[in-house]
Each structure stands twice: as C-alpha cells, then as structure tokens.
Amino acid sequence: MHRNRKLVLGLGLMAFCITQAANGADLKSVIEMPDASAILKKDRLAPPKKYTMPAGCITTDLSAIARGEYIFHNLNGKKAKKSPPKGLPKYIVVNGKKKPKQYGNCVACHNIEGAIGGGNIGPDLHRYKELFIDTGVRSFQYVYQHIADPRVHNKNTHMTVNLTTGLFTPREICEIASYVVSDKKKD
C-alpha cells in the first residue's frame, strides 16, 4: 500500500520532470546551496592533548586570581558589565579588527562562590580547595589539565576545551586554575 503510493508519486514526478527537464540545470543555479564543508573542516577540534602545567603556574597572587575570577564569571568583553581587572583586556585586535575578548563563562555550567546564575551541567565548585585540594583528591596539575583539555580525563566530556583550541594562553589557564583552587572567604 505504502509502496504503491510511492510508486504513483514517483511516476507523477517523472512525468513532471520530463516537462520541466530543460530547467534542471537552471534550477541548480537559482537555488542557493552554498558550500560549508571548508568552514567545518577549518573549524574542527584537534585531538585531546596532555599538558604539563608551567612552573609557578598556581599562585596566590591576588591580581592573577582576580583575572582568573573575571574570566570564570564572564562570557566576553562585550557582554561583561564590570571592567576587567588590571592586565586583562576587554577587546583585542584580530586580523586588524577590534573584537571582544572571549572569557571562560565557566559559571554557565558551574556554581561557585559568588556565582550569579550558575549552571549545573558541571559539578559545583564551591569550597573546591577544602574539599578536593586539601584532601588530596585533586592536584593542581589535574585542575590545570581539566581546564586546558578535559577530554584527557573524560573523552565524552560536555565541558569546553580551553587551551587546545587556542582560546586562552597557558598563563590564562594558570590564572583560572589559581582562582578555582584559591581560598574563598565569601560564600
């Protein structure tokens, strides 16, 4: 039954195609079918990469932690309301064009001290130092690697890749990690 209907439809189309045959090539030129394969190829993510955190990476330097905190809580320089701390730009120049600097927006997925509208896709990072670092459950190196490229720990992760993609520099990853593992007094 279903088959018959398809057959009838097919025949109808064939008859129609014959009357319209002259237009086949024309049609291809009037219907927009832009190519996206090159864009996708260029945009592909490189394989997971292991990193060793640089010397002096995790710091208690307050200005470094402040930058890490800012990156953690904001999406980009255009969306961010407060001005960034010293040493962190709001806009950068890419190929001669002024673009908002991208930040981590970690708060989209993680709750943490002082989060506004924190998400719950990733684990809650409240009291991270006390619960994970001080207990020896996690090392600084682990945190650095997880932010740089979490796929090394979980190949099916839903988390963002931050260093392999070139979004941040190793120094910025250190600053973000330093913030995550810092002692936070406020709740």
Partner: protein
C-alpha cells in the same frame, strides 16, 4: 478564510506553548509579557506578509505541481520537509524549493536569509499546521546520506570552545541549567514544528536554520550558511527528533 486558519493555528499553538512554558525559568514580568504575546503573537504580522508574497510569487498550485503532489496533499507534503527533490537530485529545505518555484513563475528568488523569505517560509510551513511531522530519513539514498551528515554535524566538536550541538542538547544534559537557561531537548520541545518563530529576545522572526546559527555564534562554532548541505542536514536531523516524539507542525512559534 486565511484568517480563520491562522486563528485556529494560534490557539492550537497556545496550548503547546502553555505546556512548554512550565519548563522555562522566566521572571514574573517576562511570563506576563509572554502570556500577552501568546494571545497576539507578533509573528502573525510576518505570516500575513508571507501569505501575500506567497500568493503572488509561489502559489499553492505551483508548489504542489513542483512537488508532484495533489494540492490537497500539500500540507502533508510540507510536513515532511526537508525532502529529496528529484529535479535537482538534492535534499532541500522548503525555502530552497520556493526559490525554484519563484524562478519558474518568472520571479527573482528571494535570498534564503532575506526577511521576505523568512516570512514566506513561515506562511508556507503554516499551511501544514496540525499535520504530524512525517520526514522520512530512510526514503532513499540521498535522505539517508543527509541524515547521516546531519548526525555528524550535530556531534562534531569544533570552534574556539571545542563544543558540539550534542554537548548541550544530548540526553545526558537536557533539562540541566546553562547559565539560567534550561537546555532544551530539541525533540521534546518540538523545535522542528515551531520554527519559524517570533524570538522575543531578538524582536524578530527567525527560522530554524537561523536559530542554529544563533547557537553556533553563541558557542563560538564557526557559523555555516543557510541552505548549505550541512545546514539542511542539521535540519533533517533535528526534524527527525521531533518526529520521533510524535510532534505536529505549529507555526508560528513564540520563543523567549
């Protein structure tokens, strides 16, 4: 007559949206505005405009003829897009098919990303309102290929944050909160059946492929063009999600 159709559509839509609304976290003010807009979806103006353009440059007769179907079967056929179109041997969206029909009718086709095409697409798709989505991803080799490509593009991690569509729309994370936004299950919320929609946060009518571009832009994935094979394939994939949930066409949608 047309007015009655669109009235019926809107009330059917209010029902589906009223149910969907519970899942969304909105402020009371937003909710009040949303409720008010439901009764008077701003998209109706665009659908009316699309209706005028369609009746002049496309017409139900020409569209049915191009698709090789009886005019009475047009709604059912529209509810099965994207479809394999033998004339060009490609899987196409309804907007692309309308480009072909406009041309055959002696008009210069609207650009896929033009406001006119968005309106016309909303109207044309609304002709299928209340029809169950019936895309057949196994219809033939080309449809199978489009579905496979759509799946691949949906799963492909890319961009400056290394995310895929699946990172935020897989079964494992839907319903969780991404910065105050619940991650929607694209099948369950009937994404395929509710776009084109009026997007309140953008104050404009947006199509499904335009919405895909929004997520790409937000998540720093390189934005791919509307009408590309990969974009149509994504639409095939997302449309099948809604079909699997037994969803119907309900155009125009109203979105946060």
């Amino acid at each position: 007559m047309k007015k009655i159709i669109s009235l019926v559509a809107v009330s059917a839509l209010s029902l589906t949206l009223a149910m969907g609304a519970e899942q969304y976290s909105m402020s009371d003010a937003d909710r009040a505005l949303y409720k008010e807009m439901l009764e008077n979806n701003p998209a109706d103006i665009f659908v009316d405009e699309g209706n005028e353009l369609f009746d002049e440059m496309v017409t139900e007769e020409s569209l049915a003829k191009f698709l090789g179907v009886d005019i009475d079967d047009l709604p059912k056929t529209i509810a099965g897009f994207p479809r394999y179109i033998p004339q060009v041997d490609e899987v196409l969206g309804l907007d692309q098919v309308m480009q072909a029909v406009m041309y055959l009718n002696g008009y210069k086709p609207f650009k896929l990303k033009s406001a006119e095409m968005f309106s016309m697409l909303a109207y044309a798709k609304s002709l299928a309102n209340d029809e169950p989505i019936n895309i057949d991803v196994d219809a033939n080799e080309k449809m199978k290929k489009a579905y496979a490509l759509g799946t691949k593009v949906f799963m492909m991690k890319r961009g400056k944050r290394g995310l895929s569509c699946n990172s935020c729309h897989s079964k494992e994370v839907t319903g969780l909160i991404l910065r105050t936004q619940p991650l929607p299950d694209l099948g369950e919320v009937n994404t395929a059946g509710t776009w084109p929609a009026y997007r309140m946060t953008k104050s404009s009518l947006r199509t499904l492929q335009r919405r895909f571009q929004g997520c790409m832009k937000n998540a720093l994935l390189a934005v791919i063009p509307i009408g590309s094979k990969e974009m149509v394939a994504l639409e095939v994939y997302v449309t099948n999600l809604a079909k699997e949930k037994g969803k119907k066409i309900a155009i125009p949608g109203l979105k946060r």
